[in-house]
């Protein structure tokens, strides 16, 4: 059982990876990007394509895919989100949902319905494991994934608090107009934030491809995982995302123990329970659900 708990915690690292971009974008731009999962799957396909076509190992492929994702994030903000955010809070939901449909079906058109995986291209890493005391075997990939999540979250935190650009992003998220008065370019800050978010999405996509299989329509479940982890961990800093991811993964692990189809049910159930408890204790609206990491960091 302790073995499963450790596996669950490590899986939580993946959920934290995919969730942090979503919650970062929400905290800065107040937009929940419904194409989040589809973009992660897009990154996974890009790596797969580079690996299968040009024999570029996925970890090297990231050097190409992550800058590409950053560019996509910048374009996404400039051409889609910025414009639709002007039309109110509802339009970005519709725009990004439409985008998700376009991405999913383009991927299907391009790559077909087959499930793919990056596992064949990362050598022994996909199955190699370390033995921990108490004869517990942990996959090397799972540990790398978890470590990446910790480094990424810590790095983001440092970036937001310690750098000039990070501070301007936080200022924009607090109040774009006032930030503009003191010389912060809100458009630039938002575009940078979107680029950063998409880089994390690219990383998440890479790990999705390495640890499991994916297909063109795998984006929707990833979006739900990201959202659930972000909401569960919502209380406070970016580290909350890590906690959220771990809780989600443990609930899924537990669900799988109870019933063969219980993996996903367990995850959704714990999400709703957390939501319910928070709603009934706060008694307020839910503005604080996806709390702002920048605020608590200050």
């Amino acid at each position: 059982m302790s073995n499963q708990i450790i596996q669950g915690i490590l899986l939580g690292g993946y959920y934290a990876l995919i969730a942090c971009g979503l919650s970062f974008m929400f905290s800065v731009m107040r937009i929940i990007n419904l194409a989040h999962g589809s973009l992660a799957v897009f990154a996974a396909f890009a790596l797969w394509w580079l690996a299968s076509r040009y024999h570029i190992p996925p970890f090297v492929g990231l050097l190409i895919v992550l800058p590409l994702m950053a560019a996509i994030g910048w374009a996404l903000q400039r051409f889609l989100l910025e414009r639709s955010a002007r039309g109110g809070t509802l339009l970005p939901i519709l725009t990004t949902f439409g985008l998700a449909i376009v991405i999913d079906n383009m991927l299907f058109e391009q790559f077909g319905a087959d499930t793919r995986s990056l596992a064949p291209y990362i050598g022994s890493l996909s199955y190699a494991s370390w033995e921990w005391p108490g004869s517990i075997y942990v996959g090397k990939l799972a540990v790398i994934m978890f470590a990446t999540a910790v480094i990424l979250l810590g790095g983001l935190q440092l970036f937001l608090t310690r750098t000039r650009l990070g501070r301007s992003i936080r200022a924009t998220s607090e109040d774009p107009d006032t930030a503009g008065l003191v010389g912060v370019d809100a458009r630039r800050a938002n575009a940078v934030a979107a680029s950063i978010a998409m880089v994390t999405v690219g990383l998440a996509g890479a790990f999705l491809g390495m640890r499991a299989t994916f297909d063109p329509y795998a984006g929707a479940p990833q979006l739900l995982f990201a959202f659930e982890a972000a909401v569960i961990g919502g209380a406070g800093s970016l580290w909350g995302t890590l906690v959220g991811g771990i809780v989600l993964a443990l609930a899924q692990t537990l669900g799988a123990q109870v019933h063969p189809q219980g993996f996903l049910i367990g995850g959704h159930a714990v999400f709703l329970v957390v939501l319910f408890v928070r709603l009934s204790t706060s008694g307020l609206g839910l503005r604080g659900l996806l709390r702002l990491p920048s605020r608590s960091a200050s």
Partner: protein, 346 residues
């Protein structure tokens, strides 16, 4: 009458709207007798169109009037079909099951609303999606459904194909008409004023005493019920029930497309959007993936460049209102306007 001519006129019914009302009655009457003249395939397609209109109108009621964008409305579509299967399996007449099932869906949505309506914007949108995903998984656990294999509404087979087709057609037409009428009545009454106040500014509406949550709940339950009817009718036309098909997010994508293209927040827009979607599906549905890419791209383009949709734009440009749900202030022009029987162009 002539006393008002020099001051602004507040109008609701106009000549256009009166003609439109008569036209609507004629169209419904024609549709009711249409199965006599249409081929079997055409009757089926028309039934699908009615279901699309229901879906669009209900999603529009929720998003366009209630300000609640949900990407999980497929949960009610799937449940409408699932409860029909369950009720028919318990021995209820299959046609009766369709509507009892929708009522059950409406009842289920009531407690759900207490929970979900406290979420805001994007949180509500994806929260509903989570509900849909969870419900899908739970329905799969039901032995009767046999997981993704699915099951069928077998008890419908006692009716011969012709009777079945015509009955479902009429039921779909009647459901569509009734739901649109309910929505129209709701929007014209005092609730309608509250709904539009919420649509325009929720906080301001609350501050002048509009019961925001109660009104939203009404729309939520109405939309759940309506989409439940649509799901049950869809099951009746296609007979087979595969959870994956019914709980597919594609249904919500269709609803969003129809409403965005037609005109979000306008009563006529949803109907127009359903018609546009129906025609596009008829012409391009065979192209498979590109058709879906096109739907998604069109939705993106409309939300970016024409957020008011086709009808919203027409309404704005020409001041047309076929089925007016609000009031308008018409400022007097050079030509004195009388009691509205001969409205001057605005």
């Amino acid at each position: 009458m002539s006393a008002v001519s020099s001051s602004p006129v507040i109008e609701r019914g106009t000549m256009t709207s009166r003609i439109a009302a008569i036209a609507v009655a004629v169209i419904i009457a024609l549709l009711a007798i249409a199965p006599q003249f249409l081929s079997a395939g055409a009757v089926d397609r028309m039934t699908a169109l009615f279901i699309y209109v229901i879906l669009a109108a209900m999603w529009n009621a929720l998003a366009g009037f209630g300000g609640l964008v949900s990407v999980g409305q497929q949960v009610f579509f799937g449940l409408g079909a699932y409860f029909t299967i369950r009720l028919a399996d318990a021995g209820l007449n299959p046609f009766a099951s369709l509507f009892v099932s929708a009522i059950v869906v409406g009842i289920v949505s009531w407690p759900l609303s207490f929970f979900m309506l406290r979420l805001r914007n994007g949180e509500f949108a994806i929260g509903m999606w989570v509900i849909a995903a969870l419900t899908h998984l739970l329905v799969n656990l039901d032995r009767l459904v046999q997981g993704e294999t699915g099951t069928s509404l077998i008890s419908l087979n006692v009716y011969d194909a012709g009777t079945r087709r015509a009955t479902i057609y009429w039921l779909a037409l009647a459901s569509m008409t009734a739901l649109l009428a309910v929505l129209f009545g709701l929007l014209r009454g005092s609730t309608g004023a509250a709904i539009r106040a919420i649509r325009d500014n929720e906080d301001a509406a609350a501050s002048v005493g509009v019961r925001v949550t109660g009104t939203k709940r009404l729309l939520f339950v109405l939309a759940a019920f309506g989409i439940g009817v649509a799901g049950a009718l869809w099951l009746a036309t296609s007979i087979t029930f595969q959870p994956k098909t019914y709980f597919n997010v594609q249904w919500t994508a269709y609803m969003i497309f129809m409403v965005l293209v037609g005109g979000i927040g306008t009563f006529e827009g949803a109907i127009l959007g359903a018609l546009v979607f129906f025609l596009i599906e008829t012409w391009f549905g065979g192209t498979g993936v590109w058709y879906l890419v096109g739907l998604g791209a069109t939705a993106v383009l409309f939300s970016l460049f024409l957020p008011r949709g086709l009808w919203g734009t027409i309404e704005e440009r020409f001041g047309l209102r076929f089925l007016p749900v609000g009031y308008r202030v018409r400022l007097p022009e050079n030509a004195p306007s009388d009691d509205g029987t001969a409205p001057s162009p605005v």
